[in-house]
Symmetry: C2
Subunit: 394 residues, 2 copies
Amino acid sequence: MQALKGKMVIGQSGGPTAVINQSLVGAVLAARGQENITGILGARHGIQGIMDENFIDLTTQSAEQLEQVAGTPAAALGSVRLKPGKEECERVFEVFKKQGVRYFFYIGGNDSAETAHIIAEMAIEANYDFRTVHIPKTIDNDLRVTDHCPGFASAARFVALAFMGDDRDNRALSGIKINVVMGRHAGFLTAASALARQNEGDGPHLIYLPERVFDVASFKQDVRDAVAKYGRCVVAASEGIADADGNPIASTGERDSHGNIQLSGTGALGDCLSAHVKDAFSGEKVRVRADTFGYLQRSYPTIISEIDAGEARRVGEFAVNHAVTGTENGSVAIRRLSSDPYESECFITPLSTVAREATEMKGEYINEAGNDVTQAWIDYVAPLVGDLPKMGNL
Amino acid sequence: MQALKGKMVIGQSGGPTAVINQSLVGAVLAARGQENITGILGARHGIQGIMDENFIDLTTQSAEQLEQVAGTPAAALGSVRLKPGKEECERVFEVFKKQGVRYFFYIGGNDSAETAHIIAEMAIEANYDFRTVHIPKTIDNDLRVTDHCPGFASAARFVALAFMGDDRDNRALSGIKINVVMGRHAGFLTAASALARQNEGDGPHLIYLPERVFDVASFKQDVRDAVAKYGRCVVAASEGIADADGNPIASTGERDSHGNIQLSGTGALGDCLSAHVKDAFSGEKVRVRADTFGYLQRSYPTIISEIDAGEARRVGEFAVNHAVTGTENGSVAIRRLSSDPYESECFITPLSTVAREATEMKGEYINEAGNDVTQAWIDYVAPLVGDLPKMGNL
C-alpha cells in the first residue's frame, strides 16, 4: 500500500492536561519532516473546529513559538466535549474532502478515542482513504492497554507536592484535613497522594478511591483511629467515591455533555465529608477543614514531571510517523521497559481497544481495608512522577 | 546598658507560610554566632510549648538539617492560635526564669505581635530583664509599617501561577470559572491573581477584594459583561468578601480560637457565587465552575519566591542581631529601597505599631468599579513575586 499524501488535521479534546501541548507540538514538528503531509491544520476546539472549518495553520510557526506552547498547560488549540453522531461525521468528511485531508490526529482520552474510531469506521464505509491515530492524554490515567497516560504523571506530581506541603501545615496546626482529588471512576490521581509520605507518621493517613465502596460508618471509624494514633489526620478522597449502590457521596446533580454527573468545580464533597467527621467527633472539639484541589491539578504550570513531558512529546511524534509509514489506524500506547532506570517505548494498539470503556486501578494497588494503597502502587507510580523534594524535620 | 546574657526561646504562631522556616533558621544560625545567647530553645506550638516546657534544643542540629528545614513549608516547630491572658503570661515568665531565658522571638502576624507585646509589657511590670522581637510572617500581607510581609510573595506566586494555568484551561473549555483566594480582611493575595495576565484577554477578568462592598447584582452584571466581551470569564474572589453590612457572602458560622469566622477549608463561598452566576444566566446554558484554592496557597512546596525566601531568612537574622545589640523590643519590618532592581532593608518598629490591628490594600491599588486592580498594584507586587513563566499561544 502506497503512503497517503495530503494534509493533516490535529485536534485536542476532553479535559486538558499540563502536557497535552507537548503532544501537539511533537506531532506538528514530526509532520513538518514528512513529505507526504502537505499541510498541517490545527482544529480549534477539536471536532467542533473541523465542522466549523475553524483551523489554525500550523505549518509556519517558529520552533521557538511552538516550544513555548509545548511548555504551556491546557489545550492551545482549545478543547471540546462532543461525541459526534452520523450527521457530524458526514460534515467532518465533507470538510476533509474539501481540504484534501488524509490524516487525522486526535489527542484525548477514551471518549476522544471513540470519536476517532467512529470517524475511522465511517471513512471505510465512505470509501475515503484516510488514516487516523489517537494520541492519548488524561490525568485520570484510565486508558486501557497503555502502561499509563501522558498527563497523568504531572497531575500526580501536583497532587503529591500538594499533600507534602499540606501535611506539614496540618502537623503545625493539628486537626483533620480532607483533600478531594479529581478522578471520577479511577483512583490513580488520588492514590498518587501516597507519594507525599517520606517518614513514619506523614500523611495522607487515609486514601479513599472510587474502586472501593465508600462506607460512611467505616470512614468515621478510620478517622477516629488515625486521630488516636497520630493526633491528627490527613485524608485523600477521590471526587468519585460512591456508596454501595453507586451513588456519588455528594453531587450537584449537574451533567456535562458526555452525560457525566458534575463532580469537579464544587466544594460539595469536601463539605459533606467534613460534616461526617464533625459528626464522628460530636461533642469533642476538633478542627476539620476540607480543600478540593480542583482544576489546578490539570493546569498548574512549573510542576511538570519531566518523564511525562518527554512521553507526551513522544506519543505525538510516534502517531505522525506511524500514520505515514504504518498501514493501520490506532491509538498510541506506552510500554514500560524498566522502572529503574525508567525506560519506555511507544506502540500502536487498535482504536477499539482504547475507545469507549475506561479502566481503573488494579486490585493489587489497593489495601485490603480499602482505605490505602500498597507498595506495588508506589513502585508503579514513583518513577513516573520523578524525584520529589525532601521535607525537613526538627 | 549591658547586653543581656541568657538563653533564647523562639516560636512560630498563626497560619504557617511556605517560608516561615527560613525565618526560624535565620534566627537560629544568627543566634549561634552570638556569645550572649547561651542556648536556643524552640517552643513546640508557640506560646503553648513555652507553658508546657515543650522545647526542642536548637543548638546542635547540623547546618545541613537546618537548611532542609528552611526549604520546607509550614511551621517546623508547630504553630498555635492562642492569645495569652494574664495567667498564661505569668506561666511564661515562670518558665523563662526557671530556664534562664533572656530573649524571646515570636514569628507570626499581628496576633502574634500582640502576644509578644503583652509579654514584653508584663516583663517590665515584673521587672524581668528581657528582650523580645517579633518576626513578621503572613500570607495576608496585612501587617502595618512594613512594605510587605515575608510569606506573602510565595503565596502570591502560587496564586499567580494557578491563575495562569487555570486561565488556559478556561480558554480551552470556555465557561465561567470562579477561584476563591485566601484573605479575610485584606485582598493582597487575591489581587496577586492579576499577575497571571500576559496578553489582552487573559484572565482573571474580574477581581473582588474584601476592601470593597460585594454587591451581588453588580457581580452578576460584571460577569455578563465579561462573557459578552471575552466569551468566557475567570473571576478571582477573596474569601473575605462581604455585603454592605459587613456580613460574609458565605460562611459556615464557625469561629477559630481568635474569634474569627471560619472562611477557609470549605467550598461554601465558591458554590454560593456559582449559584449567583447560574441565576444571572437563567435559561441560558453556561458552564460554571468554582475552585477554592485553600491551604495549598500557604503550604505548596517548590513555587517559592526567591526574594521572599531571602527576606524571610533576613528578618530572622535581623531580629536576633537587634535583640543582642539593640536596646529595645520591637518588630522587624521591611523597607523597599528600589523596585528595579529590587532592593530592601530591615528595620525595627515598636511592637505597638504592629500588634493587634492589621492593615489592608491602599485605595490606589483598586480600580474605581471595585472589580479589578490598578497598575500601581502591579508595580508594587510584581518585583516581590519574581519572574513568571511565559505562556505560549498559537
